[in-house]
């Protein structure tokens, strides 16, 4: 019993990693708390569902995040960039407005009913893990989470663009003065962030059903992760995501009330004592 | 001009400020006398702002003593020193943007404990040519006017000493000239003594009774403007630095 709960914790944690890395990246570069991130996750899931209907899961896995990336670039270019000199509240509320628009769009196009997306054939089996059988798909989810975490970390640490991203999130003005096209960079990073949200949606679809309340289910958890991990810090987000995943999964079974409150209590404590989060500065 | 006869209103003795291995200020002594304008010049990074911060209590001294008149204020915080009459303006204009001009000056006066804060505010606004802007929102003022408002906030409650950190920064030639005149009027009419950190040499040498020159945290010259200007060490310090 414990194994399966721990396992589910890993699964949810992996999902949060994929989703929250996007949120952290957007915050790190644009200083925007993207309230629409949960809706983007949902939109990615629904788009993926439709694409999979015409072709298959694997195409959706690539196409949906790609579409979300384009949306992200547009969001940055025509939203965040134009509002960058305004006070932070304005931008946050614009993302809130975006949340409403996306929710309405999803309801209009796909309606209120829940959908389920079938697990791709290649992964439609169970595997024996330490005495319990677990769906292979969920193992793949964990693998995807790990893949995202590792690739992002390597990319940020070792690539030239990664260097620019880290520089721009610390000091955008100086970075721009050094000749880096910070606007293009921001558009790219935000695009990556929204793509990750969409990816999380597609990945989640086969094992969590699609419903219009998907976004609100995850958005708060995502904020908790990003805050506890340190606003803008990827490494922090990864760790916090796993921790939260574990708490949710274990807590749901053993201590439901405490488990629900604990992440928030942690978030409150951290925000009061160390508003920059326990990981401190970016990436 | 026997400047040493005037009463000593501000005395900084052997002030040193060290932090993290940096000796920002290293053994500086400054004497400000009543009714004088005392200019403080030096290249960027010489420690001038740090000394102002130390004198006003914004920074702790590593060593030294600061006296306001007869009172030793070394251990007192900025608010306490302000209450005793040691006021400053800020290098970057620091006003209350969304409040009305007279409203903020009156509030500052009230918080200083002035009984008739309205009259105090009006007198200051009159003195600084801001009366016609009394009911304007601070954010709507021009840059020069905002600098004057910053100064007005520093003048509530008639401080005895006023420390100005680059008050002419960003002002046009005319505005600098006008401000200089205001400062001179303040010292003669209001008995305020002024310590002035400035880069504008014309202003400093034009209105100061005494000039002190800083370099690398130390005083390298001190005296009447003409003498300081001619001092070879001062010329080297300015020619030698990149600033």
């Amino acid at each position: 019993m414990l194994t399966i709960n721990l396992f589910n914790g890993l699964v949810y944690g992996a999902l949060l990693i994929i989703m929250c890395s996007g949120l952290a990246l957007i915050y790190g570069l644009r200083r925007v708390v993207n309230f629409a991130h949960g809706s983007l996750y949902m939109l990615g899931a629904y788009i993926g569902y439709s694409i999979a209907g015409y072709s298959n899961f694997w195409v959706a896995l690539v196409a949906a995040p790609a579409i979300m990336a384009i949306l992200g670039v547009l969001l940055d270019r025509y939203g965040f960039r134009l509002l960058q000199d305004r006070d932070p509240l304005s931008v946050v509320l614009v993302t809130f407005g975006l949340l409403l628009v996306i929710e309405d769009f999803v309801l209009t196009v796909w309606g209120k009913s829940n959908y389920s997306m079938s697990v791709p054939a290649a992964l439609n089996m169970t595997i024996d893990l330490a005495g319990t059988s677990v769906p292979a798909y969920r193992i793949a989810v964990i693998a995807m989470g790990a893949l995202v975490a590792i690739s992002l970390s390597l990319w940020l640490r070792n690539s030239k663009i990664g260097l620019f991203v880290r520089a721009a999130s610390t000091d955008p003005t100086t970075t721009a003065m050094q000749g880096v096209n910070t606007d293009a960079l921001s558009a790219g990073v935000v695009g990556l962030g929204t793509a990750l949200a969409g990816l999380a949606g597609v990945v989640a679809a086969p094992f969590l059903s699609l419903s219009p309340s998907m976004s609100s289910d995850v958005i708060i958890d995502s904020f908790v992760v990003v805050v506890i991990g340190g606003l803008g810090s990827l490494a922090g987000a990864f760790i916090a995501a796993m921790v939260l995943g574990m708490i949710q999964a274990l807590g749901a079974v053993y201590l439901p009330d405490a488990a629900a409150l604990l992440p928030f209590a942690l978030m409150v404590a951290i925000l009061i004592w160390k508003p920059a989060g326990f990981a401190g500065s970016r990436t | 001009m026997s400047t040493s006869e005037n009463k000593l209103v501000l005395d900084a003795q052997d002030v040193a400020i060290h932090y993290g291995g940096v000796k920002a200020v290293d053994g500086v002594s400054l004497a400000l006398r009543k009714g004088q304008i005392h200019g403080l010049i030096g290249p960027n990074g010489a420690g001038k702002s740090t000394v102002i911060d130390a004198i006003t209590g914004r920074r702790r001294l590593t060593r030294g003593k600061v006296s306001l008149g007869d009172v030793d204020v070394t251990e007192l915080g900025p608010t306490q020193r302000r209450q005793l009459g040691l006021s400053r303006s800020f290098q970057r204009t620091s006003i209350f943007e969304h409040m009305l001009v007279r409203q903020q000056v009156e509030l500052a006066s009230y918080k200083m404990g002035v009984t008739d804060s309205g009259a105090d505010a009006d007198a200051i606004l009159q003195e600084l040519d801001l009366m016609n802007l009394s009911h304007a929102v601070a954010a709507d003022l021009g840059y020069g006017e905002q600098r004057r408002l910053d100064l007005a906030l520093a003048l509530v409650g008639r401080p005895s000493v006023l420390l100005l950190d680059e008050p002419m920064a960003g002002l046009s030639v005319q505005e600098s000239h006008d401000l200089a005149k205001h400062l001179q009027a303040l010292t003669s009419r209001w008995d305020v003594s002024v310590l002035l950190v400035e880069h504008d040499m014309d202003v400093v040498f034009g209105i100061s009774n005494v000039v002190t020159v800083f370099e690398l945290g130390r005083v390298i010259a001190n005296g009447e403007p003409a003498a300081v200007r001619a001092d070879p060490r001062v010329r080297t310090a300015y020619l030698g630095s990149a600033a």
């Binding site: 509002l83 409403l100 628009v101 309801l107 978030m267 925000l271 009061i272 | 620091s94 209350f96 943007e97």
Partner: protein, 326 residues
């Protein structure tokens, strides 16, 4: 605003309320207007925090719901008359907010917003799960007594009466806030909001005014919560949810926060969008979202601000222009 102008505006506003209460025949419309007015009070509370402290709260629904729950529990326990329960609830909300405020107003920027979000959600979860105390996810009905302040419940629950009660409350709240913010206290909070360092430098203790404004904004929101409890006779965890706080914030921004009554305008727009747009009402979310985005991009001081500019631009005579500018 002078005492004279304030008095005239107040009397006119009250008269308008009476006219609406008596003049509007449709109970549905009255009911809708009542809800709008309740949300207007809620939004004014949220807007007050933003206006005087420069702080954004994503958790003010906490006070909206909490006041409903507290008065409901007090009435259930039958420990005091309803009138006293109302007073006790407001005092409790104010005190709780002040104590919390002392701790949380020190947290800067977006972290404060996230903090209020987290605290609000904790209360939401607690209320959702405490079946015994709060009725859990199903909510709790509030047992108002047969007479309240001497008036029979049957009379109170009439749509026109309920609207008038809420409207009068709204006007009184605006009046009291206007008077309070015109005092020295108002100036002090503005100074702290504009430039905390300089405020401290001129001798202002910055923590207490900020906490006081936070508490005051909570009280106003609590008043809205009580009105809601009276209007619906019911409270549920949804009254505590962060999305409700978000809606209130939207009303503040769309209505405009430069004037005290701007958020009230935002509430009206919200309800108009939500209910009155007929067949398009299904898309009210998108409409409101777009309205929000448009306002932020094109008219940051909200609809009230745009109105003021319009009036000023046309050189309208003093009184109206000055009211809109206040």
């Amino acid at each position: 605003m002078s005492i004279q102008r304030t008095s005239i505006t107040t009397v006119v506003a009250l008269a308008v309320g009476v006219a609406v209460a008596l003049g509007v025949g449709s109970n549905n419309v009255l009911s809708l207007l009542t809800q709008a007015v309740i949300y207007a009070v809620f939004a004014i509370g949220v807007g007050l925090l933003l206006r005087q402290n420069g702080m954004v709260s994503f958790g003010h629904a906490l006070y909206f719901g909490f006041s409903g729950y507290l008065v409901g529990i007090l009435l259930q326990l039958k420990v005091m008359p309803a009138e006293a329960a109302i007073v006790v609830t407001l005092l409790a909300v104010t005190l709780m907010a002040f104590v919390m405020g002392l701790v949380i107003v020190r947290v800067p920027g977006v972290a404060f917003g996230m903090l209020t979000l987290a605290i609000g959600q904790m209360f939401f979860l607690t209320a959702s799960r405490s079946r015994g105390l709060t009725g859990g996810a199903d909510g709790m009905s509030i047992e108002w007594p047969d007479t309240l302040f001497g008036v029979a419940q049957s009379q109170l629950l009439k749509p026109s009466a309920m609207f008038l009660i809420c409207w009068v409350t709204l006007i009184v709240v605006l009046l009291l806030l206007t008077l309070l913010l015109g005092t020295r206290f108002g100036s002090i909070t503005e100074a702290v909001r504009d430039n905390e360092e300089r405020a401290r430098f001129i001798g202002i203790q910055t923590l207490l005014p900020r906490a006081a404004i936070y508490a005051l904004s909570a009280t106003v929101t609590g008043v809205a919560g009580l009105l809601s409890a009276l209007n619906t006779g019911f409270v549920s965890p949804e009254n505590l949810h962060w999305s409700l706080s978000g809606v209130a914030l939207m009303m503040v921004v769309v209505g405009g926060n430069k004037v005290l009554w701007g958020p009230a305008l935002g509430a009206v727009v919200y309800f108009f969008a939500k209910d009155i747009l007929g067949s398009y009402a299904n898309h009210w979310m998108a409409i409101f979202g777009i309205a929000l985005i448009s306002v932020i991009v094109f008219s940051p001081s909200g609809i009230a601000g745009a109105l003021a500019k319009l009036v000023r631009g046309q050189g309208a005579p003093g009184a109206l222009a000055r009211i809109l500018r206040h």
